[in-house]
Symmetry: C2
Subunit: 254 residues, 2 copies
DNA sequence: CGCCTCTTTGATCATCGTCAACAATGGTGG
DNA sequence: CCACCATTGTTGACGATGATCAAAGAGGCG
């Protein structure tokens, strides 16, 4: 586990349940939430946070802990407050497509019918807030600004998904890896964390399943970028982007 | 152009502008809209439609007509009311990824920042409604039920995009084509049109750019499915799905 | 009827996947 | 604290899927 995860989780302090997967609706976990500005709770005023706290429960996840599975009734919506989570879909024969990596502020579980469309699993030590879908919907009705924020975030997710389709359908392995590293770096920066060197908490297999490649190809491509002095692999799963401009050119296929 | 497109457009009658790209804000185009139940206007009551009609203009598009380009200021949101439209992204060297095919009821242009994230172009003779973004946002503020509907549709789009990522990242050419035909058929049915034989109005190149394949591979795979008696190519770009169950198995990789 | 575009088919090639073995890492227990 | 072992990552050899290059056939619109 990387240090930042521990810190994040410590930050949450009393709002964090200490037992695995145990819920804890303290007096006002939301008031103490250090990543609220990143989440869909952002538009809520201080004196309205009680309404949110009342329906939320915080959950701690350890690496590999599943949160829900594709096809289950989508009874909850989740918001990540610390760590990293992967969401993925499976084909019957086991082929896997990682749909996305989630970090602080990201949400999941907004299903269009009543079932989860994907599975979710913690990558690192993480914390998520759980919102019972029905209660969240009532809250959204009462606070349209929250619904508006959610629509904005969903639109953004959509744009990200479309960018990923371009990557999956039309980019080479090298372009995919370069794009991936730049994306991680940018998102890291958006959360107020260091963009370079960038933390890469997920495994080669997860990266491959995200980019439509095999583990071996991911590894080979990392080596290739390293040999070209575009990146340098550092301890604790960090990657230094030695030449961001060159990486950007590669990512765009220039 | 397939007959259905002509019919759809005739249905719209006086609401349709006859000149290319010309706007027409008649007395109440929305009241006469035959596909309103499919669009984000669905939740609006009859006596509220005037508010929508007031800000909308209808546009007729001919095959190949561009609607907007990636990177332009996203001043409008569009809703397709007849025909078919493709939206796509380009890499600098011309590689293209079709992000989606849009039919009656689908919308586009909900950008997360102020620029369109993709280009849009008519495939067949089509009709779209144009909503100036600012005015639509005011309308959404006044009618939260419309915003809720939009959020629901965006969530659905997101699920579709995720399914497409699975296809692009992990399916074989044969699985991709089978999935594609079943998807077209299902969507056709949802619009109240015949699901089988299914209309396939887009070119082999468009299909390839949607599935991450080349024209040649698309054509070869169609031939392969035809030879296996799973589909049969009919006149006017229609495809009969001879064995839907077998196609479904192929699409799922079983 | 003829031209132009789109589609189909063929031959060859390259990228990435598969299979295999080895190296490194990190977690555990002695 | 160190050694061991399991898991993850790296590297190599080879092969297959789909891309590329090329050309012929089919359809649609003038």
């Amino acid at each position: 586990m990387s240090p930042f995860d521990v810190n994040r989780i410590r930050e949450l302090g009393p709002a964090m349940a200490s037992e695995q997967g145990e819920a804890d609706s303290g007096p006002s976990p939301c008031g103490a939430c250090s990543v609220r500005h990143l989440t869909f709770c952002a538009p809520m005023a201080e004196d309205e946070l009680g309404h949110v706290s009342k329906i939320v429960s915080t959950i701690e996840l350890h690496p590999g802990d599943p949160l829900f599975d594709e096809g289950e009734p989508a009874d909850n919506v989740y918001s990540v407050t610390a760590g990293s989570v992967k969401v993925y879909k499976l084909l019957p024969d086991g082929r896997r497509q990682v749909i996305g990596f989630l970090f602080s502020g990201d949400f999941m579980g907004l299903a269009h019918n009543d079932l989860y469309a994907y599975s979710a699993e913690a990558i690192t030590h993480s914390a998520v807030c759980r919102f019972p879908r029905k209660k969240l919907e009532q809250l959204l009705e009462r606070f349209p600004k929250m619904e508006r924020r959610l629509l904005g975030m969903a639109s953004h997710e959509l744009a990200v998904a479309q960018e990923q389709m371009l990557l999956l359908g039309r980019k080479t392995a090298k372009e995919k890896i370069a794009s991936f590293l730049l994306m991680l770096s940018k998102r890291s920066e958006q959360r107020g964390q260091t963009p370079n060197p960038v933390a890469v908490p997920m495994s080669r297999t997860d990266i491959g399943d995200y980019l439509g490649l095999t583990t071996e190809t991911v590894s080979r491509t990392f080596t290739q970028l390293k040999t070209s002095n575009l990146i340098s692999l550092q301890p604790a799963n960090k990657v230094e982007l030695t030449s961001i401009d060159a990486l950007r050119d590669i990512a765009e296929g220039i």
